[in-house]
Symmetry: C2
Subunit: 454 residues, 2 copies
């Protein structure tokens, strides 16, 4: 009898783990069953805004690999429309509802990987089930928005939330020709960046024609006579809307694990060690539902990021397949864009650094993305957060034109290696006029942060 | 009496050093005189191809700061058209020819910084002084090519040399509407990259319509009846040419120093310590004329790169100004492009690694620059050179479409920190569909190099 690996969740972390384990162990040594409550495996949730925008022509292009391929090529028994409802860690079984048959099935396991992802935290208001109001979590959400655009020719969209998804959906709605209002209860968009950059982003978004309403919570949703959404309400008044997109935050989907006595940490994610094993024998967790360690603060954190989910899935799969893998923690590196404005961050913000008991100082420079004389150079701002006593880099944030965003990776690499800003200044980065000023803006920022006289 | 700093050479290294020293010490403490044989300070030699291409409209845009500004704002006594001809390290004087007055002047110094740059190594043939044949070293060179294009409406250009400058000038000539033949005596363009990438670059250049002749040395230059160049000769025949651009290599311009008994190392560059001090008391060197240490091989090297010149100039200036600065060596990171093809490298090639007594292995992947479903994703190849015994990264090379080239900086950061490829795999880089696949190509390359099963 092969060992039985059961995986809950068929997206990045779950499928990466299953595939990775399969590459190490054949079906004779390891049977793999995977239950997924949706109708798709391995889809790129991050791609939904671009599909809605019309930049991706077909829903199927967002699916990295279909369930049949996992079944046929990798002998992974993928069960779609199967929702896990309870875990019994003593009996080593999972109760699963077959949504098509409306029946309950019990799956035994030797090893269980929980990869249930994240769930949206909706605004605490009534009426979110009004037709025309949608999240952006699943392909179904995207399809609903596209269907509404096709059938109702909406003119006005309200996007709720000014984080990554909110900004991307604001862009998507504008590309579809809608008038866009974005509301956020925070005083700035992109609250993971410092306020001074938030202001810069807000100004740029307004220049793009996005009606940005900050410090503005959603208080309600109004439906028209046909039942379709007609407006949203806020303390500052009513905003007409033919479509409402919820781009509010997410949290780890860990309730199933918690109900089974599998420990959940302060971030809300399932606690694991660096092999992705939970404290409960035979139970593993990976991806958005799991907690991990921030490499700079040493604190437990959860990030709903595809990069982290893929990497943790791979590590879980290595260990489940009998190899060795250790997940070394995260920096929270992320990038997005609204039209031509690129926004990226890595490491700790000032607030996060202070919460970790560190003493951060901030420095900031503005420079060109290319040599000043080269066509289409655009401005970019690099903000560095540095530990006052040691000059160790704690975090970095970038806002700027095309070519700015991915430069965050150099700061991520510097953070990863615990570099001091005065060492970063010297780093031998690539230069040619179409690519960079001779001092890359990242190095100029490090010079400033190092207090160099010039 | 202030101390007297004399600087030979008014480009990146010399001007950086002078400015940096001035920021630390005022004119009462330090008098700075700088002699430059040309007519310009601080010009962007790297920008010349783009000026010739018509992408930069005015010569003056390539000048970062004019001599008058250094004189007025920084009290640096800049003497243009002044060529240093001899150094007396015992008397602490430099003999300088005033090219305008055609007279000799002797300058005393307490500290001397040699920043004489690099000089082209021309092909060993007659006729290189034929009108219509030009290097791309100085603004004067660029002006000559532009003048020829304006006055003679050339149709055919021959570019000699398939390195950075050769490729950039081939692009420039094509953008100006000329038919371009590029000849190189090597069997591939970009010999600083591995042959497999050289082939990829050669194929792409031919697709761009560049008539690429490899393994083809220049044997001569033929002039027409009016004295202007008419053709070049090679062992494989004559190639018609209305313009000939020499993009052959450069070497440190160190003869002046060597003649004065200042030691020159195996790379041909002036030997310095990590403060940019030569072994001769009171004599310093920085930039293309100086030798430095390769951080991966530990070997002495010289690179003619603006980034290195600026950084070394800054370090020399810090020390000359009474502060502390140590230059930590180079990786030889560089990037260029021909039209949409970006080419970058950092660290050691296979040959360089073997010459340093290391045992390199090569791995290579091809991936998209963006999510596969996102518009305008293009292919990129990442080649990693890894030490067999330790799995330490030794070098990286990238060839690919827009967005590929600057990713070399992540590999440079990994090399800078001596990372192993299995640690690089885990690094937390930024992802969003417009910027990257969920596994950045650099990480995918590291996975392959680490021998990950997937």
């Amino acid at each position: 009898m092969p060992r039985q690996l059961l995986v809950i969740g068929g997206d990045a972390a779950g499928m990466s783990a299953a595939s990775q384990a399969r590459r190490l162990l054949g079906p004779d040594a390891l049977a793999i069953t995977l239950v997924e409550r949706g109708d798709t495996t391995s889809y790129a949730a991050c791609g939904i805004p671009y599909w809605v925008a019309g930049l991706v022509d077909k829903r199927s292009r967002l699916i990295a690999r279909r369930a049949e391929v996992f079944r046929e090529k990798q002998h992974i028994d993928v069960r779609l429309h199967h929702e896990a409802t309870a875990i019994d860690t003593a009996a080593r079984t999972v109760t699963v509802r077959d949504l098509d048959a409306d029946a309950e099935v019990t799956f035994p396991y030797d090893d269980l990987l929980i990869a249930t992802g994240a769930q949206q935290v909706p605004p605490p208001v009534e009426g979110l089930d009004t037709p025309g109001v949608s999240g952006v979590q699943t392909l179904g959400d995207g399809q609903r928005i596209l269907d509404a655009m096709a059938s109702r020719s909406p003119r006005r969209a309200v996007v709720v939330g000014g984080g990554y998804i909110g900004l991307e959906m604001a862009e998507a709605m504008q590309l579809r020709g809608l008038d866009v209002t974005l509301i956020d209860l925070a005083p700035q968009p992109m609250t993971t960046l410092e306020p001074e950059l938030g202001t810069q982003i807000a100004d740029a978004m307004r220049t793009m024609g996005i009606d940005l309403r900050l410090g503005t919570p959603l208080t309600g949703v109004e439906a028209g006579a046909d039942g379709w959404v007609r407006a949203v309400t806020t303390p500052d008044g009513t905003i007409d809307a033919d479509l409402v997109v919820l781009g509010t935050g997410v949290r780890p989907r860990s309730a199933l694990a918690e109900a089974a006595g599998i420990p959940v940490g302060p971030s809300g994610g399932i606690i694991t060690d660096d092999r992705q094993a939970t404290p409960v024998d035979g139970v593993w967790a990976a991806g958005d539902c799991a907690e991990t360690v921030h490499r700079v603060s040493g604190r437990p954190v959860s990030f709903a990021l595809g990069t982290v989910a893929n990497k943790q899935g791979r590590i879980a799969g290595l260990n489940l397949g009998g190899a060795e893998g250790r997940f070394p923690g995260v920096l929270g590196t992320a990038v997005t864009k609204v039209h031509d404005l690129e926004i990226a961050r890595t490491g700790l913000s000032v607030r996060e650094a202070e919460a970790a008991g560190l003493r951060p100082v901030v420095s900031r420079i503005t420079a060109g993305t290319r040599a000043h004389y080269y066509p289409e150079s655009s401005e970019m701002t690099v903000l560095l957060i540095v530990e006052e006593d040691t000059s160790r880099l704690l975090g970095g944030q970038i806002v700027g034109g095309p070519g700015a965003g991915k430069r965050i990776d150099v700061l991520a690499a510097a953070l990863w290696n615990g570099m001091l800003v005065e060492d970063l200044v010297q780093m031998d980065l690539a230069y040619a006029p179409p690519f960079s000023p001779v001092w890359d803006p990242v190095l100029t920022a490090a010079r400033r942060a190092a207090g160099s006289p010039g």
